[in-house]
Structure formats: C-alpha cells, structure tokens
Symmetry: C2
Subunit: 560 residues, 2 copies
Amino acid sequence: MSEKIVIIGGVAAGPKVAARARRLSPQAEITIVERGRLISYAGCGIPFYLSGQIKDYNELFTTPYGVKRDEQFFLTERDIRVLTGTEATAVDRRKKEVTVVDLNTGKESVLPYDKLVLATGSVPVEPPFAGINLKGVHRLNHPEDVRKIMEEIEQVGDVVVIGAGMIGMEAVDALARRNIFVTVVELQEQILPGMLDADLAAVLKARLEERGVEFRLGEKVRRLEGDEAGRVKQVVTDGGALDADLVIIAVGVRPNVELAKAAGLAIGETGAISVNEYLQTSDPDIYALGDCVENLHLVSRRKVYIPLASTAARQGRVAGDNVVGGKSKFPGVLGTVIVKLMNQNAGRTGLGEEQARAAGFAVSVTTIGSFDRTHYYPEKGRILLKLITEAGTGRILGAQALGEGDVVKRIDVLACAITSGANVEDLANLDLGYAPPFNTPIDPLQHGVNTVRNKMQGIAKGINAAELQAKLAGGDDFVLLDVRTQPQYRAQHIEDERTLLIPIGELRERIGEIPRDREIVVLCAIGSRSYEAQRILEGAGLKNIRFLEGGLLGWPYELD
Amino acid sequence: MSEKIVIIGGVAAGPKVAARARRLSPQAEITIVERGRLISYAGCGIPFYLSGQIKDYNELFTTPYGVKRDEQFFLTERDIRVLTGTEATAVDRRKKEVTVVDLNTGKESVLPYDKLVLATGSVPVEPPFAGINLKGVHRLNHPEDVRKIMEEIEQVGDVVVIGAGMIGMEAVDALARRNIFVTVVELQEQILPGMLDADLAAVLKARLEERGVEFRLGEKVRRLEGDEAGRVKQVVTDGGALDADLVIIAVGVRPNVELAKAAGLAIGETGAISVNEYLQTSDPDIYALGDCVENLHLVSRRKVYIPLASTAARQGRVAGDNVVGGKSKFPGVLGTVIVKLMNQNAGRTGLGEEQARAAGFAVSVTTIGSFDRTHYYPEKGRILLKLITEAGTGRILGAQALGEGDVVKRIDVLACAITSGANVEDLANLDLGYAPPFNTPIDPLQHGVNTVRNKMQGIAKGINAAELQAKLAGGDDFVLLDVRTQPQYRAQHIEDERTLLIPIGELRERIGEIPRDREIVVLCAIGSRSYEAQRILEGAGLKNIRFLEGGLLGWPYELD
C-alpha cells in the first residue's frame, strides 16, 4: 500500500518537500493543500516586479524553462495533487486525518495521511494602528499585493514605507529604481534591525540618504488618515504627520502556527513550531518546515525565528527525504541574510555584536575598510566589514558587511568558516581566489582577520566611530591626526579644531609636530594608513595612539 | 643592536615582508635589493593595461591613494632602503653576507644580514624555438613588455599568442577588448592545462571560439620567421604556418633559484626552493617566499609549484613576522586560481580529477549546470560546476567551475570548505546568503553537493559529455531522450537519429512511446529536468537510464 503524504502549504517549502518525496518514491500519494489560489510562486521576486526588473508578472509563477507552475504542472510533470483554494482547518492526530474546506463551495472533506507536513509559512503582523484599510495602503508579501501597487504606482506622489526591515527596505530599493524616493518610518532607532548591528545600519542609512531616501527612525505610527474618497492622505506618527498617497506596510511577519497549536503540537519559545533535527514536530508523523518553524542557531545554540526562503528550500529536501522513510538532518542556521539596496550590498552571518554578548561570549569587534578588487581595476567597490570574534580564541562568531563592493562573497565564505568553527588563524592563509577583476591579493576578509590578529597581539589599537564621535562631542583633549593626502582632506573631513593633517608619507619627517604627551586618534580613508601611522608613532616612542577602524568609510556622522 | 634584514626581490613578496617587518620592528634595518629599475609594481595588472581597462601606465606603480611606490616612498613612508638596479650575486652563509653589484656602475659591495629573505620570483621559460628576438615578438611578464606591445598595437593585423596558460589567456582577453581576435597556439591538447581539467577546458574553449578566438591545440611551434626588416611574419608550427605581425610568448615561468642553489640551499622536487612552514629554507636564517618556493598542497599533501600573487602576499606577512622573531606559519595551498576571459568566469580550487587519482584518492566526479541567480532576475548567468569528491566519504577534494555567472564566489566557499575537510553532507545545509540579485534559494554549489549525494545514494545516475559523445560516435544502440521544450530543441540540439524528444511535462503520459528494453540517456539544458526524467522513468519500471550531467551547458561538441 502506498504512503499517503499530505502537505499543508503550497508555496516554497511545501512544493519542495513534495518534489523531493516524489523523486524518491514513485508510489507515494502526495497531496498539497493550499488556502490561496496561487502556488509555488517566487515570493522573493515580488519586489523585483515592483522595481520593473521583472517585466512579466507571470515570471513569478514559471519554471526556469518557462512552464507555469500551476496545479496542472504539478499533476502532469510531478504526479502531485494540489488542492488550491482549500484550507486545512483541523488535524486529527489519532485518526491521522486532516479536515479541509473548499473555500469556494464551503464543502468540508477529510484527507487521511501517513505523514503530514506543515508548511504553513508566515503571516504579516497586524499593525497596531488605524487606517490600514484605506485605499492606497498596501503590503508587499503576496503577488496580489504588488499587482495592486502597480495599478496605482504611476499616479502617486508621496510614498511612505512603514517598517525598515527587509521587505520595507526592498520596497525602498524597488521604488528608487522607478525614481520614486520614499520616506521610511521605523519604530526602532535603526534600519534593518533584525539584520545589521546599529553601527553598520547607521552607515548604510547614510549611504541611502545620500541617494534621496528619507528616514524617520524611532517614530511610532499613530494612524493613517484618509481623504473623503477613502484614500490615504497622511501617515500620522508621534513625530508629526507625513503626506502620503501610497503607503506600504512592512512591519514584519509571524509564524503561522494556528493549525499546529490547535492540533496540540509543541510551539517553541520563539512562538514558532518546535521541530527536531529531522524536522519532526512533537508528533513524529507530522513534519514542519520553512517560515512556520524555529531553528537552532549554530553559534549561540539557541532557538531563533529567522524566516528565510533559503532555509525553507534546504529544509524541503530534508523533510522530503524523511517523509518517505529517510533520516536526513537539518543541523541549524547562521541567520545569513544578504540584500542589495540601491548601490549598496549588505550582508550578515552568524551572531551580531549584542547577540554574541547575550549568548555569553567574550566578544571582540573589529571593523575594516577595503576595496573589493585591486585599486587599479576600474569596476572596484569599497567594503566595510565588521567581524565579531571571541576574545582570546579569535573564533569567528559573526560578520556583517556593506558597500558597493562584492560583500556577498565574503559573507558566504565567512558562513562556511563559522560553520566549521574557524578562528582568525585558520582564515588568514585560506587559499582564496585572486585575479584583479575579482579580488585583491589579500582578500578583504583576510585583511579583516589579520586586523583582529594584530589587535590580539597588541600591535593594532583601534577606536570605533561611535567612540571617536563621543570624544569629539565630549570635548576631550586629544589630537585628531588625519594622515590622508591634502586633496583627500579637502574633499571630505571631520571639521574639528583638534585636527592635525600630516599625510602618511610626511609623517616620519614631521613627527616633531605631534605633541608627545597627548592622546592621538589617527584617521584615514579606510583604516590602513592610520594603522600604519599608529605603528610609526609608536616606533618613535609616542604613546596612547589609536586608529579609527574602517576610516571615514565607516563614519556615519557628518563630514565637511 | 638592531637586526639587519636583507630582502632580495623588490616586487610583490619582498616589499610585503619589508612592510610587515617594519610595522613590527621600528628598529630593524631593512634593505630591499632589486635587479630591475621598477619595484613593487602590480604585475597582475599588466594584462589590464593591455586591454585598456587601466588607462594610465603609472597606476601599475601607485598606492590606492595615488602615491608612487618608488625608492623614495619606501624610504620616507616606511623607512625601508631599496637598492634598485642592484643584483645579488652571492650569499656567504657563514659570514652572513650578500654580495651585490650595482648594474649601472659594476661596483660590487657586501651587505651583512641577520636574516636574509629570498623573494627572487620566477622567470619566463626560454622557448625552444628560433626567432624570439624578431621585432614584434613579446612577452607579457613585466611592465616594460606591455609598454612595448602598446607601441605596436595600433598597427598590427595578425596576432598569435603562444601558450594557452594563464598569461597567454589573459592576453587573449585583453586583446579581445581591443577587438583584436587572436590565434592561440598551445602544445598541449587543451587550454589552461595547469588550471582546468580537460572537460571544462573544452567547454571554455568552445565559448571563446564562439566569440572569435581561434585555437591550435596540440601544435608545436617550430620557429618564428621574419621579414627583411627583421619583423616577425609567421609562426611556423608542426601543423603549418600562421601569419603573425605580433607574437606574444607565454610559455610559462620557472622559479628563479640560481642564487639559492649557488648558496647551497635545498631545492625541492618541483625545482623551487624548499621551505618549512615558517618559510625558512634549509638555512634557518634565510627565508624564501613567493614565486621562487614550492608549497605543500593541503589536499594531496604533496609539494607543488603554483606561483601566484595571492600566495606571495599571504606569505609576505608570515615571513615578515618571522624575520623579526615571530613564529607564524604558512600551512600550504589549494592551488586556487580564478580568471575572467571575455564573458566567461572560470575558477578552480583543490585537486583536479587526475591529480586526485594520482594522489591516491578513490575519486568520484559530478558536474552540474545552474543559474547563479533566480531565473527571473535579469542579470543572471549560468554556471557549470564540477566537483571532485572522495568516493565513499563524499569529502570534497577539488572543484572547478566556469560560466557567465558568479563562479568565483562558489570557488571561494569551496576553498574554505576543502580547507576544513568538509564533505558533501556538511555543505548541503550550509547557511549561504540568498537574495534574488545574488543567488538561488539553494546555491549552485549546494545543488552540486546534493547531486553528489543523490549519486552516492544511487538515486541519480549520470553520464558525462565525453562518455555520451563516445556512445554517439561508437554507434551504440540506445535512446537519446531530450526532455526540453520544443522551442529549446529547435534552437539547439544534438543531431542524432536515436533522439526522442518528449518534453518533461509530457513524459508521464507519453511514457509508452519509450522502448522499455533499451538503454536511455536523458538530456536537457543544464541537467535538472533530465535527472527528474530519470526518476520518472525508473518510477515507471524502466531500467538502464542515465542523465547527461550538466546538460548541453557542459557539452563541448558540435550542436545543430
């Protein structure tokens, strides 16, 4: 008798489980139950349709070879039955049956299962303010959402995005490509709070502001107000009112766990479904995966809720193996997230600085600036890289990076390194590929780990942007030694009377100009020359010298 | 008393040692001895000046902040003495002295050392044919070489490159950017013999041929012939004569070990200087690094000679530490090489297929095709990825890849994985970054390791392009089942009467059309649908079915 597999959820995770199970078991009876009308759509592609990079709405629903992934496709190509417009309303674990309702007819029926898979995904968080049903107020979670936005996009003037998380920021990017520059309102004091540490987020915010985006951080939306026609007119926050004739609400998602809860399955501390490494719920015949489950973080060893399409896809294979009798494991996640926002690439993997402290690690933080390619190669870009390491051992706990340069490659290599438990010594001589179109002879990430090593050895002594800013604002008595060239200084600098400009090439001969009894902070463009200067000054017997890590590249504050 | 450090060699490795040693030791007396007039130039940038991507010759000699790296720079900024035009002619290890000759004046002098560093680099191999001193015959190893080529480049008609190694192929790429399409003569039967396995090299060659490059592989150059004015006119090979009014000879380099040999230092089995993990030669007070030394291969555990600027740079830091009393280690190399050639990116890391066999491994080879980004994202490219794994354990031994897509990121991640001893299980759930502008939800390299796992489990059964070509040519009785769409087939296919075209979507219903007693090879564009088809056919009880790994993307032979 053939195994009956019922999968609840027809987007991303669910179809992946079904496809893998089918490849392993030609006999299994596989049924996908999906509440909506659309299945297996490219949810991550939605912002790229908004931006115009994807021209045809149908591309969100087709295979790479141009075939529509609808019910018929699953049936004829994969022998998988898909019930769309069908909601699973209850699970009887004793009888091993799922009750489903045809949302069109209201007709209820029962699907018996041997293995049940919950791929119920996430749902948008309901915002705690009024006016969300006004015309012109949208989300960006579902293909239907973007379709509705596109109907209005040519007519709108002022766009406000509420929420500076991933989806909100992808909306910002997409609209900028249409030359629509939005205002973003975010409750927290930084952009991308779930992704970047506050320091890197501040730098990224500054880069996006330079290109026309406005941010209202730390502001709480009180209500949306409409005109007589019922169309949104203003976003009212605790900081004032903003004109808006189109609003995108992106205040996050939460795991869709209602069915699992009602079935008495264990829910984890994060609020998502709890699964073991085989992706089994507390009922061994019921699996769960994707945006509805929590995962083990491989560095903190704590449970986290980080819903990502990549996690769902990898888990699909694991669950697909196991529902047909396999024993595949899903070890956990690093919370790797990457994003392209206007001309900036950004990424993170592993633990953030505060997360690492909260997880009980003794934390050391190092920030470097670098070109991603040889400086003479025309298509180069800069990278600001922050490494979070364990003090003493140099173990890599996490990394974050941003810039026009190829950030993502370094984040992926670091994800691999963190998974293997690598420390800075292990990475320093890693044989990474080099050619001028792709890299510098010493990869930026190796420049980063070498800086960590220099700091561990007491050779390099850094100060970060926030610390320097506090010293400047606090009226400390110190010398701010800028070692860049004159033209570089003139183009952009920190305006402060404590500044002394001595280009690095003149430092040895002009060393007498530097007061020997004062604290010195050296700065340059990306942090290389200032470190060199620190060593030169120490070599000449000066003391109490630090260099600005990451240089002005990592400086999120005002420059003249 | 301050330590005397003498470094022989003023390009790449040598200056790096000097700079690191200076940062660690303000007191050390550091002297660099360089035979040539130019120091610390960007050797890897030479082809990019030829291509016109670097506009200003001086960029090959400047720091990222625009200062010329000449003798004065080293002296004033780094307190390092550089003697250019000065040749080291002998080392007296007992007295710890180097004899040097000023090549301008012929004056000999002696430099005492506490630590000596040999960074003597490599020298071009002398070609075994006549005519290399004709006008219009050049190399591409030194900035002066490219300067001479540039003087002639506007006037030339037929360009021949001798040697299809890295430098030769970079010349091909550079000239193509000037719309000069060359003929390449190579003694071996493949391009990039030191870098790519023959199968991937054949695919890359086909891609470059499509764009106008001509190759004469397996041909030996007999002589270069000139006209009355002494300018090169023809390249005569054992396959005939080629018109040429400009010839670039790129037949490889060899380690420059004469001084080391004369000093009685141990030379390794590869012909390069033998060093331990501290980069010490057989004389503990003499260090060597860069293109003149051999290295331990981290997978084969054998000594290899793979001269690369990245290795030299990493070793510079290690040697710089150790000459001032440190104990830094250089563990070895993976032979990671990457290159951009016209619209193709290519890379390799770890062992090649034959190298892995020669090193005694039980080898399994898997090739996959993939897009590097979501198929709906406009700027996507394809990747052909070959994984060399250990049979049984699935340990990654090496990887090679090429395509328009982002090959390099995957090679770097694999370099990290190989270094940590990872197997395919470890990589399958690696939390790599995903966003549509950068990746597919399951990274191509994970698609690759999953394919290896499927093969190890006996689920996937592959055939490679060479095997299929042999079957086609050998007149075997089998069915060549193409499961692509009709338009895809019409655009390009293998013309063979044994072909049966059934698009994957129709396969289940048309399964009766397939003879049940015949061997079947399934093919598609990149290998995904054909694997799916293999599973469908096996599910229906058919036997003896294999799919073409990498699909037509990895097919280097003729297509109609």
